[in-house]
């Protein structure tokens, strides 16, 4: 292992990490937005849109991100839809994540017994109050482990961005190995930088899950 080599590579990896983080978090944000919209459509039982949500969720949960990105980046321009690599990355991640989030939110809501809402209403709460003070806290608690798992999953999935020629961590590592053959240094840095990116998220996630569990009642 050559310390000098590592030192000279660090700026390249740092840039790659920043790019990965930027697109990754944009993707996660998209995922939350899309997931919430889908959940809303499902809860309000809006016809037609509801069926479309189901098709979308099934389609994106049952195909790999790699294939989705290939389709968005290489196939869509052929019918006149051109998207930049960065937008393609964040939107692609967001579409994949949105499908997962929609399922997680739904199972969180499904977990709440109908008697909870009925009891809230019979205590004189309005629908909005019942949702805000009774349903939502329980639903968020119930979906928290799923949400954390989804965020980590999405940030891990950013590792395929190099196929749409985004200079992310994988791209940088592969490029450097190809040029200078300092394989061990490159792979070590790769692991270290992914740890920098994901370890805090993982730890924060566990902390959040533990705190949320206090809100649970009865079990």
């Amino acid at each position: 292992m050559d310390i000098e080599v590592i030192r000279s590579y660090i700026p390249l990896y740092r840039d790659a990490l920043l790019l990965t983080l930027r697109i990754g978090w944009q993707g996660v944000l998209w995922a939350f937005v899309i997931g919430l919209v889908c959940t809303l459509i499902r809860q309000l039982r809006i016809p037609v849109l509801r069926q479309l949500v189901t098709v979308y969720v099934e389609l994106f949960r049952n195909t790999p991100l790699l294939v989705q990105l290939f389709f968005m980046y290489f196939a869509l321009p052929k019918i006149g839809i051109r998207i930049s690599a960065e937008v393609c990355g964040s939107l692609g991640l967001g579409l994949l994540g949105g499908a997962y989030m929609a399922e997680t939110f739904r199972s969180g809501l499904d977990n709440i017994a109908p008697i909870q809402e009925e009891s809230a209403l019979s205590l004189g709460m309005s629908y909005l109050q019942a949702f805000r003070y009774v349903i939502l806290p329980q639903a968020v608690t119930a979906s928290m482990p799923g949400i954390v798992a989804n965020v980590i999953f999405l940030l891990k999935e950013t590792s395929v961005f190099s196929v749409i020629s985004l200079m992310d961590l994988m791209f940088t590592a592969k490029d450097l190995i190809g040029m200078y053959a300092k394989t061990i240094e490159c792979l070590t840095l790769l692991v270290v930088f992914y740890l920098i990116m994901l370890l805090p998220v993982s730890l924060l996630g566990s902390l959040l899950e533990r705190r949320m569990r206090r809100a649970e009642f009865g079990n």
């Binding site: 389709f71 395929v160 992914y194």
Partner: protein
């Protein structure tokens, strides 16, 4: 509008080649899942052990798998081992090693989850009925555990199939790579072939994974 490349798919053996490419990825996932399930059951049982050292080791293992992208593991095993140990691993072997490493952790966690989700009263009731520990395990615990596990392991299969699409990054010629080759070969006659080819690959993956995940959902509901 020019053709969108559907014609290219039916030219010569192109469609067959795509299916063969798909089979390469699916074969790798099936082999990996089969090994992962066996190893995962062992790991899952070990994880319920009370031994602190055993517990700590598996926690670290699980955390590594949870955090490291499979892509990184693929790179380490495929490029790293050549450097460090001088092994000349076949790309496919490297892929199977990585997916088994990942799948075993996932399966192990599922098995552990299923085992500890059986309420204690089940053991106690079995004992109260005069069953021996072995009998209780065989007739009471095991059937319930398996029912919980089967849908989850089926889900693991679809996740494995989706993940093995990554093998193109270490040079295995699977369906995406074949697709690129077909597009490249027809660049002149059908410049828009990328649309048809990638749309079809997208659908192919969906048609494989969707029925399998529906089956998992159905079994889960049936046995809930």
């Amino acid at each position: 509008m020019q053709s969108l490349g559907i014609d290219v798919l039916f030219k010569g053996t192109n469609f067959l080649r795509l299916l063969e490419g798909l089979w390469v990825a699916v074969r790798i996932s099936l082999i990996s899942v089969a090994i992962s399930i066996v190893l995962g059951i062992l790991v899952g049982i070990l994880m319920t052990s009370r031994n602190m050292a055993v517990k700590a080791i598996f926690r670290v293992y699980l955390e590594i798998v949870r955090i490291m992208p499979q892509m990184v593991l693929l790179f380490i095993v495929y490029f790293g081992t050549t450097r460090v140990f001088g092994w000349d691993l076949e790309a496919e072997t490297a892929a199977i090693i990585v997916f088994v490493f990942w799948g075993t952790a996932e399966m192990g966690d599922l098995v552990r989850g299923a085992l500890i989700s059986i309420p204690k009263i089940q053991y106690e009731s079995a004992a109260a009925l005069g069953m021996s520990r072995g009998m209780a395990f065989r007739y009471v615990i095991l059937p319930q555990t398996i029912r919980r596990l089967i849908p989850l392991s089926i889900n693991l299969i679809t996740r494995m199939i989706k993940t093995t699409s990554l093998v193109m990054m270490i040079g295995i010629v699977e369906v995406l790579k074949v697709g690129q080759q077909i597009i490249e070969a027809n660049r002149k006659v059908s410049p828009n072939a990328a649309f048809g080819v990638f749309a079809v690959i997208f659908l192919m993956y969906f048609l494989i994974c969707w029925p399998v995940s529906r089956l998992a959902v159905w079994l889960e509901k049936k046995w809930a």
